[in-house]
């Protein structure tokens, strides 16, 4: 899976993107977040408050119950502030 992080999510995790192989038990965004949070303090801090986190799967906004597979591009970021 290709993972992309933006804004302060990127700052806290410390990288903008990475390739990961999903464990078998991870098949929704919610599981992905739980799994990522165990990877280190940066991940845990970035993903601590899901009310201020948004997700995109293959460049479409998605909710926590959205399914994910290894072939997906998943982006994790704060609510958007453009315009």
């Amino acid at each position: 899976m290709k993972l992309l992080y933006f804004a302060w999510v990127k700052q806290k995790i410390g990288i903008g993107d990475e390739e990961i192989t999903l464990p078998d038990e991870v098949n929704t965004l919610e599981h992905l977040v739980m799994w990522l949070s165990q990877l280190g303090p940066g991940y845990r801090e970035a993903l601590a408050d899901l009310s201020i986190i948004r997700f995109a799967v293959n460049q479409e906004f998605a909710n926590l119950d959205h399914p994910v597979t290894d072939s997906d591009e998943v982006a994790i970021f704060p609510p958007v502030t453009g315009g």
Binding site: A7, A75, P78, V80, G82
Partner: protein, 146 residues
């Protein structure tokens, strides 16, 4: 048409470049980097290349579906900008003013809540990511029902 770019744009050139056939009204909006009380020294816009273009194209398609537009332009900049710099421009061209004005307001309201951009403000006292505003979400939602 949509454009995502680092470079500045010329407002009058962009307005002149739109299709004017059968057009009686052009409505435009330009968003600038605001310097509230001399505090902000710079603003950096980050975006999600690929998804940004996709979402802006969807916003244009939706505006053209709702209003009879002869032309439509969205330009959004990214990178480091300073107070007074242009950030975004939307233009809607239509036969009559009402659809041009409504489409213009729709374009910027929807863009603010659905295009993946993030603003980072450098201030005299440190720097921080701009928080999303509830008023922007409300402004965007009012178009869902129409």
């Amino acid at each position: 048409m949509i454009r995502v770019q680092k470079e500045d744009f010329d407002i009058s050139e962009e307005i002149s470049s739109l299709n004017r056939r059968n057009v009686g009204a052009l409505a435009s909006f330009v968003g600038l980097v605001r310097d509230s009380n001399n505090e902000i020294t710079a603003m950096t816009l980050e975006h999600y290349p690929g998804m940004t273009e996709k979402k802006l194209a969807e916003i244009e398609t939706e505006a053209r579906r709702r209003w009879n537009l002869q032309d439509c332009l969205i330009i959004h900049r990214y990178g480091r900008l300073e107070p007074g710099d242009n950030i975004v421009m939307v233009i809607a061209a239509s036969r009559h003013r009402q659809s041009a004005l409504e489409a213009c307001a729709f374009l910027i309201d929807w863009l603010k809540t659905s295009a993946p951009f993030w603003k980072y403000e450098e201030r005299n006292q440190g720097a921080e990511w701009v928080k999303a505003r509830t008023s922007d979400t409300i402004a965007s939602k009012k178009w869902k029902t129409s």
